[in-house]
Symmetry: C2
Subunit: 366 residues, 2 copies
């Protein structure tokens, strides 16, 4: 088992990474000195796979858990589902010292985290991410929230978990497409922070896709460590933390304008990273060779890296981008790369360049 | 103008108290270095009285404000209204640097504060309380939130404003009943923290009810100062802050079990304080003379201090109390007084005593 600390003063917490950790959930929660009752929030896909094991572990450690199963998929990540969770917490008399365990992917973690952040003004919260995306990204760092019709993650909070428990065994049941989508965030860590990780991924992508245990452990742990370092320096995204959004401004807009559900988050982010790499070449002199390497690595991970849009879709894409949380003074700011392993945030992009990179598909082929 | 600081490290803020401050709203916001756009959240009662003045002041200081008017009354304080606010913020493209101004009573402040706390993971927030209750209590200290069907304030956050601006002039348009309800919290500060304030209220209740400017300024400022001192020592209610709940466990339960809307919050809290004083006499030896003084002062403020309940209502009252946020390990904890000016929190009350004090009306006459 690997342990990564997220250093946040009195809100410091650990990420545990390894095989078979689900069986230790109850024991690890007991160390946190939480109340006796908890809500296990999971979704309809994950519940049949892991909820019983989680409950057994919690129960063996003396906890009493209430299972709340939400529908699977991004559409569950909305206020109506939050309301349904609140109603169950109230009906089962959860108290201030009770806690919430999120068992599932990013949607479950974000939703359950928001419920935990806001019920009785905040219950303790434990993340048990069961997808690669959630393990390397969404479960770490305390961003929780839900979507509005107007856009993704427009409602939420910064609310840190007390513990993140990444059981790599849960990835074996993950559909290939979901696993590959998670690799988009893994590649991102290489681009924004760690050229050595990027090279390791170039060498070992096949092993990683094959779930080779040693490779998987090392890569997940390194990604968590990078995220922990970044979040530890800038919890609420007033500066550095913005680098985690490489590829996300365009990625989110693709998700929004093409409609929730057509692309997985990781797939949209892969397309966004390819476009951001292309913008970086124009604006920060990212070598073309590196643009190609980024495209190739995403391709090796089995991810899409281009999108063809009609004029109408491009217009909708731009509209969606204007709603992005990173907009300031009406201007959209981008994270762009100077080289692999080094990015700058807060970069302005001329509208005509953006239009060229996004609007005409030949411009952003790798 | 009086200024009270709420000392919370990098979240320290000021409460400004005086006549005619609404006209200074824009100027005071400008000092805070906020973004150009804001949402002015108010209700249908307050909007015709003060919204134009607030907007004028904001506009003169260079801000662009979006007015959001919610229905008046406690029933607006729910997730559906929160959702409607979010949708308007999204439609008008508020950004991370935008801010929210709450103009109104406790309901508006709690609701708008929750919207501010959760939209884009947190916008800056300015409170302009226009009721006595909001000025001395709910606008200070960062508790924001909404009700669920299952109970009051079950959903929320600790989220501090950047500024609280108490224009005492707004109290002149407040219905007498609302003003008197606010006095329940004023009396509470005397009981829990400041015997001299309590005596001053005994001497000056008539002047206070008559809105005598000097008395009003001094009393509102002293109440804000007490709340600031308490909150400064215990922002998230892990200890001392609980004393602010004197009379509230029973008061909230009365509001819930008798149904929202029959009693104003302050009226329910007045009844709760009378009952808590009676419990204090039995359990902490609060002198009977002080029980009577508390009852008399609430009476002089024109507040109810007793309630007659049927057996069925008593049962519902107890059910409602079990949902209180202060419940821990299934036990309801009370704030009780040793003497006027000194209370203890976390006090257990035997069920049969509670039953006697609440269930039989003769037991809790002052």
């Amino acid at each position: 088992m690997r342990v990564v600390k997220v250093p946040l003063g009195d809100r410091t917490y650990s990420i545990l990474i390894g095989e078979g950790l689900l069986a230790r959930l109850g024991m690890e929660c007991r160390r946190l000195k939480l109340g006796r009752r908890c809500a296990l929030i999971t979704d309809a896909n994950v519940a049949p796979l892991f909820a019983a094991a989680a409950e057994e572990s919690l129960s063996a450690a003396g906890f009493e858990s209430l299972r709340i199963t939400v529908p699977a998929g991004e559409t569950a990540k909305r206020l109506r589902t939050v309301q349904a969770c609140y109603d169950q917490l109230a009906a089962h008399r959860l108290e201030r010292k009770s806690f919430v365990v999120a068992l599932g992917g990013g949607v479950v973690g974000d939703l359950a985290g928001f419920v935990a952040a806001t019920y009785l003004r905040g219950l303790a919260f434990v993340q048990v991410p069961t997808t690669l995306l959630a393990q390397v990204d969404s479960s770490v760092g305390g961003k929780v929230g839900v979507n509005l019709k107007a856009g993704k993650n427009l409602v939420g909070a910064f609310y840190q978990p007390k513990l993140v428990l990444c059981d790599l065994g849960t990835l074996r049941t993950l559909p290939q497409r979901e696993f590959r989508a998670g690799l988009a965030e893994v590649v991102k860590y290489g681009v924004i922070y760690d050229a050595a990780l990027f090279r390791r991924l170039e060498r070992n992508m096949e092993k990683l896709v094959g779930l080779d245990p040693a490779t998987l452990t090392a890569v997940v742990a390194r990604c968590c460590q990078i995220k922990a370092e970044v979040v530890g320096q800038d919890e609420t995204e007033s500066g550095l933390r913005a680098i985690l959004n490489f590829g996300h401004t365009i990625g989110h807009a693709i998700e929004n304008s093409v409609g929730y559900g057509k692309y997985l988050h990781g797939e949209a982010i892969a397309i966004g990273q390819t476009a951001a790499a292309e913008l970086s070449r124009h604006l920060l002199g990212l070598p073309e060779r590196d643009v190609i390497r980024i495209g190739n690595l995403l391709c090796a991970a089995g991810l899409p890296n281009r999108i063809r849009l009609t004029a109408a879709q491009t217009t909708r894409l731009f509209e969606a981008m204007k709603l992005d949380k990173k907009v300031s003074g009406g201007e959209i700011k981008f994270v762009l790369a100077r080289r692999i392993g080094e990015v700058l945030w807060g970069q302005k992009v001329p509208a005509e360049l953006l239009d060229r990179v996004l609007g005409r598909s030949e411009a952003h082929a790798p």
